[in-house]
């Protein structure tokens, strides 16, 4: 039985606000009233857990997990890093899911009609559990930039969508990983929903030559930080847990 505790308050000034006019879709999808702030109860500090029986060993290898006739087209990359909490502690055994466009910038989704072709050997999603020290790794191809209808000439920087759980449902997080050196990052209205440039830097994965597989794949390192848990030195945890 896990002994989960209260979470650090989420820093709403570090996250994007709900209403960000330059990302137009947010205008009608952003609540106008203030969020109701709650102290944690069992409903927030517990959360689903996943095990190795839920996933397959190949699920984190996007070069292979949808391969039909051969490997997908594109630049072969490794994305690796750790899931940590705000205390700097690793988050072990937590589910990390990713999804992305193919090397041409096209998604395998019935609602995507971009003229770049579908890659028959690329699904575009993967998932894994972090190890005992919070480490995770994926193999994939570098996604292409793609256009989207916001302003007439908007292009998303190359990015990988990332979903992470943690131990409490209130730690649930979806974000996006960008690639070091991409000139489109600074021009993207979705990136720029994040007000603080240091927070944007936190989403840019570093080229990691030490982690490449020579003559095979180039590597990027991307650490993900979830909300921290309060210490239990003082009995401030909710009743009933």
């Amino acid at each position: 039985m896990t002994r989960n505790t209260d979470l650090f308050q989420r820093d709403r000034e570090w996250h994007p606000p709900a209403l960000t006019r330059d990302y137009k879709t947010s205008v009608t999808r952003s609540p106008r009233y203030a969020l109701l702030s709650l102290q944690s109860s069992a409903s927030e500090i517990t959360g689903p857990t996943f095990g190795h029986s839920d996933i397959d060993p190949l699920d984190n290898d996007l070069l292979a997990n949808y391969a039909k006739t051969g490997a997908p087209i594109g630049e072969r990359i490794i994305v690796h890093g750790r899931v940590l909490d705000e205390n700097g502690r690793p988050v072990p055994n937590t589910l990390v899911e990713i999804w992305q466009a193919n090397a041409g910038g096209r998604y395998r989704h019935k609602n995507d009609s971009y003229l770049a072709p579908i890659d028959p050997n690329f699904g575009g999603c993967g998932r894994t559990l972090t190890d005992d020290n919070g480490f995770y790794v994926f193999r994939t191809v570098k996604p292409g930039a793609y256009p989207w209808r916001n302003w007439v000439n908007n292009w998303r920087p190359a990015h990988i969508h990332v979903s992470v759980f943690g131990t409490g449902f209130a730690q649930r997080l979806i974000t996006q990983m960008y690639f070091e050196g991409d000139p489109l990052i600074a021009k993207c209205p979705i990136v720029n929903t994040i007000p603080d440039p240091r927070a944007i830097d936190q989403l840019v994965a570093a080229l990691d030559l030490n982690a490449t597989v020579p003559l095979d794949s180039i590597a990027y390192k991307f650490d993900i930080v979830l909300r921290g848990q309060r210490s239990t030195f003082f009995e401030n945890r909710p009743e009933g847990n």
């Binding site: 896990t2 996250h15 109701l36 702030s37 609602n111 699904g123 979806i174 979705i190």
Partner: protein, 199 residues
């Protein structure tokens, strides 16, 4: 000068975008990739309690359905126990993913009605299901709760509903009894804007 606090910052959120289903519900995106796609079975086969169906629609500030929303649910079992916090029936996960019909935006899921769970300061919380909504245009996932319209007595003393100062807004979290099931329409914005939670 003082010592530096060496906490890390939480990774900032970014919208899940319109293609969230590829990652979290690939069959809804139109393809089959995983042997076991997660989130389709909230209760497992052994769950005790009342089997219920919950349905609804999420609408935006113009009243239009949000057809690309993805909702995650997290709930206790019928005895009011969350997985991880105590013994639950084998196979009871308490968690699931809900994707609406892309044409209409209507969603539905099957589960068991959760029992009441102890809240802070020894105050019992009325039966509820925790919801987390992500979609294109939602920059940070939205947390809310679903309470049950036929639990009037428990709802009246629920410590979270009690925090909602304009009493009429409490109704935005309470699912109505709808035939054999429950229905909760969620408004992201507008006159009936749902109460969203900073949990």
């Amino acid at each position: 000068m003082v010592q530096k606090l060496d906490y890390l910052k939480e990774s900032p959120s970014q919208t899940a975008g319109p293609y969230v289903h590829i990652g979290l519900a690939p069959r809804a995106a139109g393809f089959d990739i995983y042997a076991r796609e997660l989130g389709h079975d909230i209760t497992g086969p052994n769950a005790k309690g009342e089997r219920i169906t919950v349905s609804g629609i999420v609408t935006d500030g113009t009243g239009a359905p949000v057809k690309d929303v993805l909702i995650e649910v997290w709930q206790a079992n019928a005895a009011g126990v969350y997985p991880g916090a105590g013994e639950v029936e084998p196979g009871f996960r308490g968690w699931g993913r809900v994707v609406p019909d892309f044409e209409t935006g209507e969603w539905t899921f099957d589960t068991v009605k959760p029992g009441p769970v102890m809240g802070r300061d020894g105050r019992m919380m009325a039966p509820h299901i925790n919801l987390w909504l992500v979609a294109r245009g939602i920059n940070t996932g939205l947390n809310t709760r679903l309470y049950f319209g036929d639990e009037e007595a428990a709802n009246a003393t629920d410590p979270v509903l009690d925090l909602i100062e304009p009493a009429h807004r409490r109704q935005t979290l309470i699912a109505s009894v709808d035939g054999s099931g429950y229905r909760l329409d969620i408004c992201l914005q507008g006159d009936n804007e749902t109460v969203f939670l900073d949990v």
